[in-house]
Assembly symmetry: C2
Homo-oligomer: 352 residues x 2
Amino acid sequence: MSEPRFPLVQLCRFVTSALQALGLPPHDAAIVAQLMAQAEAQGSDGHGLIRLAPYARRIRAGGINLRPDIRVVKERAGMALLDGDNGMGHLVMHKAAQIAIDKARHCGVAWVGARLSNHAGPASLYARMPLAQDMIGMYFAVGNANHLPPWGGLDMLLSTNPIAVAVPAGQEPPVVLDMATTVAAYGKVKAKAQRGETMPVGWMIDRLGQPLTDPKRADEGFLMPIGGYKGYGLALIVGLLAGTLNGAAMGSEVIDFNHDDTSVTNTGQAILAINPDAFGDLAAFKARVDKLVRELRGAERMPGVERIWLPGEQSHERRMASERDGIALPPALLAQLDSLAHELSILALQAS
Amino acid sequence: MSEPRFPLVQLCRFVTSALQALGLPPHDAAIVAQLMAQAEAQGSDGHGLIRLAPYARRIRAGGINLRPDIRVVKERAGMALLDGDNGMGHLVMHKAAQIAIDKARHCGVAWVGARLSNHAGPASLYARMPLAQDMIGMYFAVGNANHLPPWGGLDMLLSTNPIAVAVPAGQEPPVVLDMATTVAAYGKVKAKAQRGETMPVGWMIDRLGQPLTDPKRADEGFLMPIGGYKGYGLALIVGLLAGTLNGAAMGSEVIDFNHDDTSVTNTGQAILAINPDAFGDLAAFKARVDKLVRELRGAERMPGVERIWLPGEQSHERRMASERDGIALPPALLAQLDSLAHELSILALQAS
């Protein structure tokens, strides 16, 4: 039995009306909806429409400022610091990306950090924003729940703090890396739980160091960092750059938004835009990226490997397929969205 | 039997005279020697004095420009691109760091890339340079030999491309992450070979995917990336930022400097300096870093764990110990340095 499929624009419309019903101004609701639908379209299922219900819960609990004054509080030629005024993270980082791109046009490189932001969806959405201007984007964020102890420790003081980088190519799709600094992102754990699946060994361990594979027991253990102490180091560094530098929450200050709908999360994020045009001929740069991509893709393969993927290539194909065939939503998610539509007295999603 | 120990200044003097004998101008020789000795002092043994012999071999083969015109070829307010003119990488990145720091003072953030550079030693040396000005440093480099295939592939088209980040603290030592994007750096493989030790399972595999633990057979296999495909993605992204963006070698263009002493390596590196002063009160930032460091260090520990380390803390203690007790050099390295001294007709290192 195939899952019902929806065109992107229909998902956008549904999420926009849900967010408007929750009190967001129409323009803001449309920006957040567009980003959430894009997340779903590229296969970031842990950060797509599955997040609408928890966002709604937090908004209704008063944990989000629906009329934020998102403003620049510090600024130099190559940087800015935003105060997100506890608005939706998507709005804060959408603005941050625009400022970084504008500044990088002149400066060559620009960094924009944010504090008092909130969860903003998958990191790659923001790293990808500079691509439209032929720029490289890098994005760092403090995750919204601590699931990772320091290496050798038991107290969960760190989150999965993701890194995303997007590099424009010429004829090839852009190279887009989007990775949690843990073996699995917590969103993937939630998605496994919702689908009733078990997790592979290596994603999480319990407090005795034993593998934890039941996603419903996720609260009893913690995520494993990639490369052991290296992933711990990366998670900490990302947190220092996206959180501590901006005066945003880090360590024990991080609010677990799975269990607390009202406290201001003071989420920290940062985006870096690099303008390749400042480094030399843009077309030549893109041609070099194409050449490298083709070289990697054409490498001799290990036995049993059908294809060598570039980072972001699978998401790219997924986006193309979503555009062509619509976006499939699993039944459990559809049921959740239906019940939310009912609560908000808006039209439910209908498969066309 | 304890290994002979040398004060840092004695190692500097020895390396300076070796490099001068090889034809470097005195001032340049002193800069490179200082950085190589610092690498040794902080325990980066794969990048310390063990590199003097291969550097000498390459210099004598004509593979290094001893009178480089290291110059800015592209510049904006927040960035510069250096042409290293095939000089020693230490000189190129020493200059790059100074420019990045100067620009970040005004712009808040600055990025300096380099092409036509060479191997420059451990990444942390350069990420640490902005610390003296209370700035954050980030360093990216294309490694000088490809030991990593794309994920699922067999052709070694990627290097261990390291990332280093240094964040200043207040009373605590700075947080300094310096990591290869592979489970082990190739320098560590070489150090194991020189010490006659075997490698742990997980560092390398052979072309059939079997663990490779004899470092003398390193040529028959390849390094494993951290977190599987994630480490492959990181190695590629670092290469795009430090190599491709700068017009430096990447992929199949990378010269294996272990087997080729004459070709211009066109090594690419990049440094980013971030000025926390632009983001708000500097003392408050450093106090936040201190608080976070202490929180992590004070976390409850897993059974059997004696201490929780922060990234860079062990190197920091090693530097302190080196300053206090001198720097121990293993007998095999000493013999290598003795024979080099003989060849160059300079005074050998003598334990005091």
